[in-house]
Symmetry: C2
Subunit: 422 residues, 2 copies
């Protein structure tokens, strides 16, 4: 791998991770002189995380929730995109080590995100896949669709085959449960002859005392009722103690299920250990008020992998707008530094609200003072998501697919790819 | 697996394979009384084969060249769709054995198609993947895109990394070569900083004396010149004698290449051995003039897996219209038999012409008396393909993507999924 190809004396910025934080940073630095950027990611695509659950449930094809990174930044000739995975950061030598080479930097930004976490039970992973990457999404889609196929071939085993357990009732868990329930009750029944897919059992298991704990309790209660009306069995205060081929065991008993999806928690990428810093309980790296790493004024840590204080005792949540705000802020800091201007004041998070959907036509939005539920919230959610989709093309395509799915009541991407065995 | 769920005394028809032949047959039998159909396929989707190369080259996403079979036939309540792979046919017991069960039949139709063949060199498969399934397409797409990514990281090895060898110059090989050349010359250059993707070398190797041998020699010559103008190196009369990690060895020498794609030949699925029949050289089963298998009046063999005589010494070609005609014909035979009417006369193939594209704006069409080349042929090709796409939705989506790719000069589905290693 070549050294950062800084055109004669350009400041070398290396950005690791092309999620919302890293990409926003790079976009905001467009036009900055004397700066050469390397944008490194271990995938060739940026994922629009808020819609990834729709790829996992066959509503949208993968190509409508992810786009090639180098296509997104190609208009900026100062950005070199690299497919690569960081193995170490050598802060003394100002160098990032990748699997097949190294990149020298003057300024480094780590925006490496989070992965799903099994809290010490990594052996559950094969039985209860999580949802972070596009491959995770197609894997989950394959399992869900194959469960219905197998039930059609072996109706005697339909009860276990058509039991879907989702572990964790944050927005992803709720959205998965609602969408699978609709798939089973609305889209599929007329296509199956030997089983009644409406009999599918969708169980949402949450260890905490209510679902969607980041929302106001009134919204949690609304969401719970909405899920129940879709036929989702919501179980709170129930922890999973075991996942295996047969299904899950919880503190309340055994659930035989062919499909288990893990949406129970995330763990930060190892930015903290790369820098020799002590991570918090969620694995996040501590940061200073300007989002640099303590003791490393030339290294920024942003996005979900950073523990950024918000208000008393609470950290900035792992939401796309929060990541984008941090990327934009660091762009301002870097521009100021390169211009020799005073740095902007400390980073301040502006919370814009939280959203979650529960199937077709129902959503909850928590703006703090204003709380919305029902169809109006759902339409707002749809408009907001289409608005924030990055490329004009995807906006059109996603709108088209959603409109079609809404009018024709038919999901767009029900393909089983990859091995048929689990 | 349940027995064919024939509602009291219905004639049990089992159709194996939901390609063009099997699907056309099932569609043509809609409304037929006293008939219960089982449609079995080892994938959950029908593939629109003529566009599969566009999925392999990132022009179209997989969801626009394949659709769930049970969605395509759901309007016919007499059709039960089954995901399953045939392991044997027990003609004496009138039973098809599947991996996880068996289906009893009164009439059986084998429409199981072909797979790519390495002519005794199956060990080449890992180095030179062929293109028949959706997983083949995403595998080839991953390899092509990764080759460019790796060249950007390791420009010193760009020469080998950016050499693409396509073995076999039938329509698929020609279409792959033309599209990869355009990707390298038109779409990608502005996104890469360390390598000039226009330097990519695309080599089309053909053992025969001309490319596209099924077309008129004048059209072969036109296609060859068109490929050359795209920068494709066409080599005829040159056979591949070895494929390995380093590339290929041909009768003319060694070609170091990171990406080799196999488009050199197909072999029929084992319908002939299932029935104890002697296959022809291409592995195809012999059939009678009514497309039944010799000695098995209740078993039809149709589509690419059948050796159907056309004109003196020539078999019906493996084209979508040929397969559809056979499916439609067998539907007429079955309707006649169920009605106790005289069977229709022998199957007659009506050749509608052959088409192939060479990149953007150029194609060849061989209607026999009329031969077309250039932009007009390309537009006709596009209109014909959009017209024959099965669902109205895909027609719109594909048209949209093509229009976009044409106007913006930007492929739609450049995602690398699956493992990053080859």
């Amino acid at each position: 791998m070549p050294d950062a190809r800084a055109g004669g004396g350009d400041h070398r910025l290396v950005v690791v991770g092309a999620g919302f934080a890293g990409l926003e940073l790079v976009k905001r630095l467009k036009g900055q002189r004397n700066l050469a950027i390397h944008l490194v990611d271990r995938h060739n695509h940026h994922i629009f995380q808020p819609l990834l659950y729709q790829a996992a449930t066959a509503i949208l094809p993968p190509s409508q929730v992810a786009w090639p990174i180098r296509q997104l930044v190609r208009a900026n000739a100062k950005v070199t995109t690299m497919l690569g995975e960081v193995s170490a950061v050598n802060a003394a030598a100002r160098r990032v080590d990748l699997a097949d080479g190294a990149l020298a930097y003057d300024t480094l930004v780590l925006a490496t995100g989070v992965t799903h976490a099994y809290f010490g039970h990594d052996d559950w992973a094969p039985f209860a896949p999580g949802l972070k990457s596009l491959d995770d999404a197609t894997r989950i889609r394959r399992r869900i669709l194959l469960a219905f196929e197998r039930a059609e071939s072996s109706p005697a085993q339909a009860e276990t085959l058509l039991t879907f357990v989702i572990v964790g009732a944050g927005p992803t868990g709720v959205e998965l449960a609602g969408t699978i329930a609709e798939l089973a009750r609305t889209h599929l029944p007329e296509e199956f002859r030997n089983v009644d897919t409406r009999r599918a059992r969708i169980v949402l298991v949450e260890a905490g005392e209510r679902i969607l704990p980041a929302f106001d309790p009134s919204l949690s209660a609304y969401a719970r009722a909405a899920l129940a009306s879709l036929g989702v069995e919501v179980r709170t205060g129930e922890a999973v103690t075991r996942c295996d081929e047969a299904g899950v065991v919880t503190t309340a008993g055994t659930l035989a299920a062919a499909t288990v999806i893990w949406a129970a928690g995330v763990e930060a990428s190892p930015a903290a250990p790369w820098l020799g810093l002590e991570a918090d309980r969620a694995g996040r790296a501590p940061v200073m008020s300007d989002l640099t790493a303590p003791g490393h004024p030339d290294i920024f840590v942003i996005g979900d992998t950073a523990a950024v204080p918000w208000r008393e005792g609470v950290m900035v949540p792992g939401l796309a707008p929060a990541a984008k705000q941090q990327g934009a802020y660091v762009a301002r800091v870097i521009r100021a530094r390169l211009a020799g201007r005073a740095a902007p004041g400390p980073f301040r998070y502006r919370h814009q609200g939280s959203l979650a959907t529960i199937g077709r036509n129902r959503a909850i939005i928590d703006f703090g003072a204003i709380k919305l539920t029902g169809a109006l919230a759902w339409w707002l959610w749809g408009v907001a998501h289409i608005y924030f989709l990055i490329s004009a093309r995807s906006r059109l395509a996603v709108t088209g697919n959603w409109f079609w799915a809404y009018v024709k009541n038919e999901p767009a991407a029900r393909l089983i790819t990859g091995p048929i065995g689990r």
